[in-house]
Amino acid sequence: MTRTEPQDVETPINLYEEQEEGRQSPFDRKARDGFLPIQTNWFDRVFISVIIWVALSLFWLRFMEPAGLPLTISNVVAVLVGVYIVWKG
């Protein structure tokens, strides 16, 4: 009976596989390079967008809303930024 090597546990790092050449859809499961400083797959970019959305909303509630600018503006901005990140990031 031969002893096999222990199966390699996929670490989170392995999720960021080397990207393939050529154009990709934003929702390709493979990681890729964009304007963000790290390789990201689509889930990472959605995650980054959500983080930015929350941060922007909190900032807006504290500093902008008292000045009369409604939260809707920040939400619109956040969605635009989010779409841009998911598309190009």
Partner: protein, 291 residues
């Protein structure tokens, strides 16, 4: 290989438990954070109130003060632990008699319940029964009172955390140092590099991944420090040591304002995730450098 059904059956209990006690609470608290709910108020209904909880949160001075001291605490505690832990790990790289025994002793605090650590340091530092205030008073004439001095209370919580968690840093760094190859160090010595140059240009870059991983773990744990501080100072004096976890436990939870409490919980979770995620990115980014 048999059918995958068996695999799912074996996995099912784990997934069910984690679903009910991990996932459901998360979405429940997220949902509640957009609602107004105080079951003991005049109007005990659950009412959707949009971002009102968060609107109140960003102007809540108690919360913001707690956030400030938490950041200060995490910074000082983790930094001190890294420096002391590195020095101790280096000191373990030499051979000397009784090394295993000293290593075991050094590991002891890790296994202790945080609340016991708090209790021990309370007995060490409470004026009139603790040994530290009495020694400080008789040697330097310094009056240490963690019940009244904010700085003293903060410092003692940092020292307590360093005492409790430095062994973890030491152990991970020993593992990293042991696995380093010898060649670069020999080469550097031949080239006449001094100790400081060797540290900055060879040791540090080579142990950087392990160092970051350690920071990652320590940051996560330091951010959720509650038990020991609750025991030692109860968050006082004032809000000097009311770290985020303590804030939730002592200020938010008992007020039964569950909607607002959920908003606080969500933001604490958010901050933890962001802090850890940034470190995680720092951890993996160097390995995925663009060509």
């Amino acid at each position: 290989m048999q059918s995958n059904r068996l695999g799912w059956i074996l996995l099912a209990p784990t997934l069910v438990i984690l679903f009910f006690f991990g996932v459901v609470p998360f979405f429940y608290v997220l949902w509640l954070s957009f609602h107004q709910w105080n079951p003991f108020a005049l109007d005990p209904a659950v009412v959707y109130n949009g971002a009102d909880n968060f609107r109140a949160l960003v102007f809540d001075n108690g919360f913001l003060a707690s956030l400030g001291v938490t950041i200060a605490f995490v910074f000082f505690a983790v930094l001190t632990e890294l420096i002391v832990g590195y020095l101790l790990a280096q000191a373990f790289m030499k051979e000397f008699p009784g090394k295993a025994v000293f290593r075991t002793i050094h590991t002891l605090p890790l296994i202790m319940a945080p609340i016991i650590v708090g209790s021990i340091w309370k007995l060490m530092t409470t004026p009139s029964i603790g040994i530290i205030p009495s020694l400080l008073a008789s040697w330097f004439g310094f009056d240490l009172n963690i019940g009244t001095s904010a700085v003293a209370a903060f410092t003692v919580t940092v020292i307590m955390d360093v005492w409790h968690w430095t062994p973890l840093v030491t152990l991970t760094l020993i593992a990293a140092l042991v696995s380093l190859p010898a060649d670069p160090f020999e080469q550097a010595q031949i080239d006449g590099a001094n100790k400081r140059q060797i540290f900055w240009h060879i040791t540090l870059p080579m142990i950087a991944p392990a160092l970051l991983a350690t920071v990652f773990i320590r940051l996560m744990d330091a951010l959720r420090t509650v038990d020991e501080v609750l025991m030692l100072t109860g968050g006082g004096p004032g809000s000097a040591t009311r770290y985020l976890g303590v804030h939730i436990f002592k200020e938010v939870f008992p007020k039964t304002n569950y909607g607002y409490g959920s908003a606080v919980s969500i933001i604490v979770l958010y901050l933890t995730i962001v802090a850890c995620w940034l470190l995680y990115v720092a951890l993996i980014a160097p390995r995925n450098k663009k060509a």
